[in-house]
Symmetry: C2
Subunit: 179 residues, 2 copies
């Protein structure tokens, strides 16, 4: 049976870090270096600690986030051998729901609505693998957890880590051979 992969959106398919840095620069006129985000939450990473949270609650934020480099090509390759589900913890941010749906339709028009999941807790998502940047989603996930590198998670040591989409593809190439 074809194996399934749950793929997160924020910081995995969508480059939230870059987007936050750009929005911050636009509003505050201050360019925050990506290194400032290392090992801290996105709330804490910017001089104004209220900015990131305000941005993610602003209409248009999720709709305009740039694609993570390599994500499109990688998803196309993975879909040849795996069932891909996009699983995003979106219900915390109601205005993000339609925006995330529209964003997926723009960048991944070949992904069916049947394979989209906008949820809160991911603990009842049963896929064979889960690619995510957050321990809160991976620690209790029902499949094999794969930590996608993000600045905030650099100090996490207890999950298998992939640094970019090229590493994801390489990992699943090996997995395929071992099945």
């Amino acid at each position: 049976m074809i194996k399934s992969i749950a793929v997160d959106m924020d910081n995995v398919l969508a480059d939230i870090e870059n987007h936050l840095i750009n929005w911050y620069e636009k509003e505050y006129g201050v360019t925050v270096d990506r290194s400032a985000l290392l090992g801290v939450s996105e709330d804490e990473a910017f001089p104004d600690k209220t900015a990131a949270r305000r941005f993610i609650h602003t209409p248009g934020f999720f709709r305009t986030v740039p694609l993570m480099p390599g994500a499109l090509e990688a998803i196309k390759i993975l879909m040849q051998s795996y069932e891909i589900y996009i699983v995003s913890a979106a219900t915390e941010f109601p205005i993000s729901l339609a925006e995330k749906h529209a964003w997926l339709a723009e960048y991944f028009p070949f992904i069916s609505w049947k394979n989209m999941i906008f949820c809160g807790s991911k603990s009842v998502i049963k896929t064979d693998y889960m690619i995510d940047d957050h321990c809160k989603n991976l620690d209790h996930c029902l499949g094999k957890p794969i930590l996608f590198h993000a600045s905030h998670n650099v100090n996490i040591k207890h999950h298998f880590r992939v640094n970019d989409w090229q590493e994801v593809v390489a990992y699943f190439e090996k997995e395929k051979q071992s099945i």
Copy 2:
């Protein structure tokens, strides 16, 4: 460990049949008797076969659907002993996403965003039970399927059926005792 129940929205928490009949009456001036919905899809049930599909794509439709009788009281009772996840196949109708979220916030404000799932296929939802009115969701569900009575599903014989929310509560009372 506390057992989990996936609860569908349309025709389970939300009285879609009544809502369709009311919208049809308002637009066409024709009152369709509920018996016309027996054993057929909602598309086929109305004299104008395009109406139901158009309604469910109309902004405001899902936001204004009435609560299913007994649902509120039953969910409150079930939450005392079970983990409840609201699982709605909403990604087919992007405008329904925010409306369903707002509808839940109105009628079930005590249900956390963590326990909401708006998805397409429900085949990767791993709860111990799933209450739904559609075979497409129950036939391959990972938990114990429970068919919630709806006019369109009256001829379905291969799932355990509950006719209303009182029967759901009674069923889970018994299940609790057998654990």
